[in-house]
């Protein structure tokens, strides 16, 4: 009897725990699992919510494979995700390291850097549309005063995605900073002192001590940023509507258009399922890289 562990114990011994878990499980089941299963199921149909649905097997997936616009959306999404994730983490880390030191008004700086996270996405997007305005916007004003020519930020197929990425980094790096700051608090001061005594430069301390010791934080951040970036929608909806020339059309944007614009919910569900597995794949690969780094 004493050898029996708590997790293997009979249900009625831990019924209290299950009773407390049940409401959460119920909500999770209703809000996450059920829709997810339904979506995967729908991806094998031509459901439109208007006509009787037919089972079409893998047709939606075959269609996706040949759909040039979907492939463009995947490419755009990857570009956006990589473009947002890594600069966000790098800037967040630098801001966190800088603001982890004690100096006057650092709480003010922390607040300023975190503010973009708190702004409403739509409001921020509208402001950035103004900032990017090619003829009278401040961004081009800055470019011109630096002697660089004005750029057609949101109206060029070559620049629009970059412009969206810059805005996303501006919005997200505060989150990265806060998470990195929390991670930095866990590194004992003595370790830095030991490194200083060992003759490490500031850069070496950052690169050899701080960054590796924040490894698990970095991984966590990377996963949430990738997942979040893969699902970008609001900013694109407001700022470019997927254009110009589909250069900012991402998977979720196309899903929305396909489902609600074209009432092809089955096809859209197949896109969503592909997106789900792509995100899953990224998470798994990320975990693997992380484990190897630790081992």
């Amino acid at each position: 009897m004493p050898s029996r562990s708590a997790t293997a114990g009979p249900f009625n011994r831990s019924w209290g725990a299950y009773a407390f878990l049940a409401p959460a499980l119920l909500i999770l089941f209703l809000s996450l699992l059920l829709p997810a299963i339904a979506t995967i199921g729908m991806s094998f149909t031509d459901i439109s919510f208007l006509r009787p649905a037919n089972w079409v097997g893998l047709d939606n997936y075959f269609r996706l494979m040949a759909d040039g616009r979907f492939q463009q959306a995947i490419g755009n999404t990857m570009y956006y995700t990589l473009g947002v994730t890594f600069p966000t983490m790098a800037l967040g880390l630098l801001a966190a390291v800088a603001l982890n030191r004690k100096f006057p008004f650092r709480i003010v700086f922390r607040t300023i850097f975190y503010l973009p996270v708190l702004t409403s996405l739509i409001a921020a997007a509208v402001v950035w549309v103004y900032l990017y305005e090619p003829y009278s916007g401040p961004v081009n004003g800055l470019f011109v005063s630096l002697g660089l020519g004005p750029q057609p930020w949101l109206s060029s197929p070559n620049l629009a995605m970059m412009a969206l990425i810059i805005m996303a980094v501006w919005r997200d790096f505060g989150t990265a900073m806060i998470i990195y700051l929390a991670g930095l608090q866990d590194i004992p001061e003595e370790i830095y002192e030991a490194a200083r005594l060992d003759g490490a430069s500031k850069f070496s301390i950052l690169w050899r001590i701080t960054v590796p010791m924040l490894g698990s934080v970095t991984f966590y951040l990377m996963i949430i940023l990738i997942v979040q970036s893969f699902q970008v929608f609001g900013a694109i909806y407001v700022m470019t509507g997927g254009g110009p020339l589909g250069s900012t059309e991402t998977i979720v944007f196309q899903m929305y258009q396909t489902a609600f614009g074209y009432t092809e919910f089955g096809y859209s569900a197949a896109m969503s399922t592909v997106l789900f597995f792509v995100i899953l794949l990224f998470s798994l690969v990320g975990t693997k890289i992380m484990r190897r780094g630790e081992g």
Binding site: E190, A194, R196, D198, G199, A200
Partner: protein
């Protein structure tokens, strides 16, 4: 290999004076121990020497060179921290190699140096492990090895044994002593434990309230504690103190009347004392003998008797003031039964009203 010279070193944090005008010389190859109660400034002093904190005033010279304004990494020192401060994400090898890598030494050389240091601390088989897989003692050895590879002029150790259990601490004490002998480098060791100080130090620096109370070899501090603070801090069990008044101070003897022991005449020069002065008598527990065999005799009533085999400790406090006696062997004593004890007059220390030792013995 280097000597250390502190002159007029002070450190203030806002209005708080952590260190006040500390001047000190530590010779090349010497094992110096900074000891004192917590908050006495010993760790602060070590951090100033290391260069982790800047001095507020004064100079620090190592090997004859003023290093006061040099960064931590630019001083010829290495430090072992209380919590080891190992890099948890690096293997034992990389931990030890880190300072050499920072110096951009060739890979082969680093490998050889790490192997040598690992051998000294007996960790050659654990080089690929992460610190989390090691025991406390092993982690401490890694920290020591990391210090060794730098070939520093001075080793700084900040309470390095305080996180180890008693048995391991004893073992590490002797290992550190051996290491010191083997490397021959200067060591500055901080502890709050007077036993560590006594067993390891060539010279002890006793600090209290940010000031140096006394500097000297362990036996000098034991036999001639400069003042009441040092007398109470060095020695275990601590010295017994009895309040008294000088009856007469003439020539080579001083006559004192004190609680418990009445009037006694002690064999030392009374040139700094005069009749009527308040003094404190200090008697080491181990200086007391059972019976009336010595010059100063009195009786005590044991409250508790601790038998340790090799010796026996008797607690006989009175009116809230502790009093202990330590006898060799295992004499037949019982709590509550009065016993006669005696002590050599020459072993009784006399401190004046300012707490300064006035019964200095020359022959140590």
């Amino acid at each position: 290999m280097a000597e250390l010279e502190l002159s007029g070193v002070s450190k203030t944090y806002g209005a708080f004076n952590a260190l006040k005008d500390v001047s000190l010389e530590i010779a090349d190859g010497e094992f110096a121990v900074f000891v004192g109660p917590s908050g006495c400034g010993k760790s602060t002093l070590l951090r100033l020497i290391a260069g982790l904190d800047p001095v507020s005033e004064g100079q620090i010279a190592i090997g004859g060179k003023d290093v006061t304004s040099r960064q931590a990494g630019q001083r010829p020192i290495a430090m072992v921290f209380q919590n080891y401060a190992l890099y948890p994400h690096m293997s034992v090898y990389d931990n030890i190699a880190f300072p050499l890598q920072m110096e951009r030494r060739p890979k082969d050389e680093i490998r050889a140096e790490v192997a040598k240091a690992a051998q000294i601390v007996q960790l050659s088989t654990r080089l690929q492990d992460k610190p989390s897989k090691l025991s406390g003692g092993q982690r401490q050895r890694v920290a020591i090895a990391r210090a060794i590879v730098r070939k520093p002029g001075i080793f700084l150790m900040d309470e390095p044994l305080s996180n180890l259990d008693a048995a391991l601490r004893m073992e590490m004490r002797s290992e550190l002593t051996q290491l010191h002998r083997r490397l021959g480098s200067t060591m500055v060791y901080v502890t709050h434990d007077q036993l560590e100080a006594m067993t390891m130090a060539d010279r002890i620096v006793v600090l209290n309230g940010g000031k140096v109370e006394q500097v000297g070899p362990p036996m000098e501090l034991y036999h001639n504690p400069a003042n009441l603070f040092v007398a109470g801090f060095i020695g275990s069990p601590p010295m017994n103190f009895l309040a008294g008044t000088v009856r007469s101070a003439e020539g080579a003897t001083v006559s004192v009347e004190a609680a418990r022991i009445g009037v006694v005449t002690l064999p030392f020069s009374g040139e700094h004392l005069s009749a009527g002065d308040s003094v404190t008598l200090g008697i080491r527990p181990e200086a007391l003998e059972l019976g009336a065999g010595r010059q100063v005799q009195f009786s005590v009533v044991p409250e508790a008797v601790e038998r340790l085999g090799l010796h026996t400790i008797v607690h006989a406090g009175e009116e809230g003031r502790p009093f202990t006696a330590l006898f060799n062997g295992d004499p037949k004593l019982r709590a509550g039964e009065a016993i006669n004890v005696s002590v050599d007059g020459a072993s009784v220390k006399v401190f004046d009203a300012d707490g300064i030792l006035r019964s200095r013995r020359a022959e140590v």
